[in-house]
Amino acid sequence: MNNPAENPQKEPLLRIAKRAELPAGKIVILRLLAVVLSLVAGGIFIACMGQNPLTIYGTILSGACRSAMAFQGTVKLMIPLLITSLGVTLAFKMKFWNIGAEGQIIFGATCATFFALFCSGMNHVLLIIVMFLAGFIGGGLWGLIPAVFKVRYNTNETLFTLMLNYIALHIVSYLRDGPWMDPGSQGFPKIARFDKNASLDKFLGIQFGWLIGLLLVVIVFIYLKYTKQGYEISVVGESQDTARYAGMNVKKIILRTMFLSGGICGMAGMIQATGSDITLTTSVAGGVGFTAIIIAWLGQLNPFAILLVSFLFSVLEKGSSVVQSNYGLSTDCADVLQGIILFFILGCEFFVRYRFLFRTKVHSEKKIKAEGE
């Protein structure tokens, strides 16, 4: 507020200024530093619980990769996380706050389950393809609902997608308690296990969803980086006015992107239901939709970085189940650590774009260094 030229004494002790673009190497170092600091903070938390942080971190790493079976379990956890993160990435790139991945997963899985339960006699390959399409279209439509209201009435998409999560969840509990209840379960509310014909095949010991995930990494990368539609998404994300001025049909782009975003999440639901759970439960999404948002953000919306982050997160989750059995710390530890890591990364982004200026150093700009967190 005070003009420094007129009144240098009253310059605030600490002020914030924009930074010129940092070189890529420095940004990477800054982010790594944030991760290290977050692990230190997580370590302090673990130490407060009376455990040695290094042993716990070691157990997480070794626990997730100690045997072929453990590693397969880790990859199995990764599949829905990876695919869903890629799905929300499309929407986030457009600055459309799709936090309804949870609901899109559930609804996609529900649509696919219809075919698994009632058309299980179909040719296997055909059935799987039909179920993929059902999952994709189901999730896509679930994502399209908030998009339609967004472009038509500017309805807040964050809250609307959130509400749709719970609505989808209760659709499943309705189907589970009523029309789709397993007749062989003697009144216990659950949906029947899928026929072998309707479950995903395995590839290298893991359901082949992981191949689809890897394929999607490449597809989403190319789509965002090298196609016209991908370019349109980033322009709309940066500024809708610019997009409109350039003659883009913003409404169409939002609708299309949300359909794709929801569709990919729906596919993740289908893969989880038919590949891992082999049935439909209310926990088919089980928080994946929310974790995926963290992953997408940590991966800076870059599909390859997302692949890496989602792998590390699955290691964290798988490893923390080993920590639970060995040290009695519950698996919620993984959520706590994920939260801490993202807090630090979110904070670190500030130092990529801005810096603190101290009063005494205002006139010798070059000496100013960003303060660590």
Binding site: M1, I16, A17, K18, M49, W97, I99, F149, Y153, N154, T155, N156, T158, L159, F160, L162, M163, L164, Y166, I167, H170, I171, S173, Y174, D177, G178, G287, F290, T291, I293, I294, W297, G328, L329, S330, D332, C333, A334, D335, V336, Q338, G339, I340, L342, F343, L346, G347, E349, F350, R353, Y354
Partner: protein, 318 residues
């Protein structure tokens, strides 16, 4: 008739945690910051408040530490979004995931250490939370049950909501707060300390959410600790802010209406309305979605949505 009174009483009870969450979030959103971490702040408040209550057997301590922990978790959010200008949606969401994980983690940690294998609040604190009884007033037919029979939480909640309504609409500080949420640049130029106002109200909002959380852990399950005890109420509270049109006084009515929706399934005879249970569970969320759509359809000036909601304020860009 008896059934109707029971239903209304249950609705007030079910709506109380929502009331705290909603009022807390209204204060937060009035600063222009959309904190999606309500669920997380409530969870942390639920956990810390419960544990303090469990060990000290003191109701006031439990409330105080629930509010304090809610405030501290809101401080994380405030530091990241106000000072470090991080993305509000992602920060709030992270706070939710962190908060739920933290609460469940601590809950199981303490549970494993307890000799009985369950965590149940001791006698004295349970008695302090029970419905009040004012001789004479509480014994009145109907009125006594409807107005003077609730847990102290209900009255605390209504008091806080009333106080916040007064603070927002009738005080200079509240006016400054609203100015910050509408146009931080103009508020700054008018000499309002934008950063201080944001911090103060986000933290205050977090404290109120924390009290709502401890209601979930201490009352809903009869004083026994279970994981995930907030169970999505924080999210309904975020939505209720819209339903209440950013007015704390309207939040009182709104949260009791939503409380009624939550308990409706126990009071509607299946023979008359043969809806599946899942439909009733879905109802609060369906209603919220409807409210969202309807309020966005009629773009009247009576909608109190803060104009700068979701936008971080960087002084040099104003």
């Amino acid at each position: 008739m008896d059934m109707v009174i029971k239903f209304l009483v249950a609705a007030v009870g079910a709506g109380t945690p929502l009331l705290f969450g909603t009022v807390g979030e209204i204060l937060t959103e009035k600063t222009g910051h959309l904190n999606l971490g309500v669920e997380g702040m409530m969870s942390i408040g639920a956990c810390i408040g419960f544990m303090v209550g469990y060990y000290t057997d003191n109701f006031v301590f439990a409330l105080f530490f629930a509010a304090l922990s809610g405030a501290l978790s809101a401080l994380i959010y405030a530091f990241l979004t106000v000072t470090l200008m991080a993305n509000q949606n992602v920060t709030g969401l992270t706070l939710t995931i962190f908060g739920i994980g933290f609460a469940n983690f601590i809950g199981i940690f303490v549970l494993n250490k307890s000799p009985e294998g369950t965590l149940k609040l001791p006698e004295k604190i349970t008695a302090a939370m029970r419905g009040i009884h004012i001789p004479g007033l509480s014994d009145l037919p109907i009125v006594g049950e409807l107005l003077f029979s609730y847990s102290p939480f209900v009255y605390i909640g209504i008091l806080i909501a009333g106080f916040c309504g007064y603070y927002l609409n009738r005080t200079k500080m509240g006016l400054g707060l609203k100015a910050v949420g509408e146009n931080p640049g103009a508020a700054d130029a008018a000499g309002i300390k934008v950063t201080a106002v944001k911090y103060r109200n986000i933290i205050l909002g977090g404290a109120i959410c924390g009290i709502g959380g401890v209601y979930c852990s201490m009352i809903i399950n009869g004083g026994v600790w279970i994981s995930d005890n907030v169970g999505g109420l924080g999210w309904i509270a975020v939505a209720l802010v819209i339903f209440a049109n950013w007015q704390p006084s309207a939040a009182i009515l709104g949260s009791f209406v939503f409380g009624a929706l939550r308990v409706l399934k126990y009071y509607i005879p299946q023979s008359i309305f043969p809806f599946p249970i899942a439909f009733y569970d879905m109802l609060p969320f369906l209603m919220t979605a409807l409210v969202l759509v309807i309020s966005s359809m009629r773009k009247s000036s009576r909608i109190n949505l803060p104009a700068a909601l979701g936008l971080n304020y960087f002084r040099e860009e104003r």
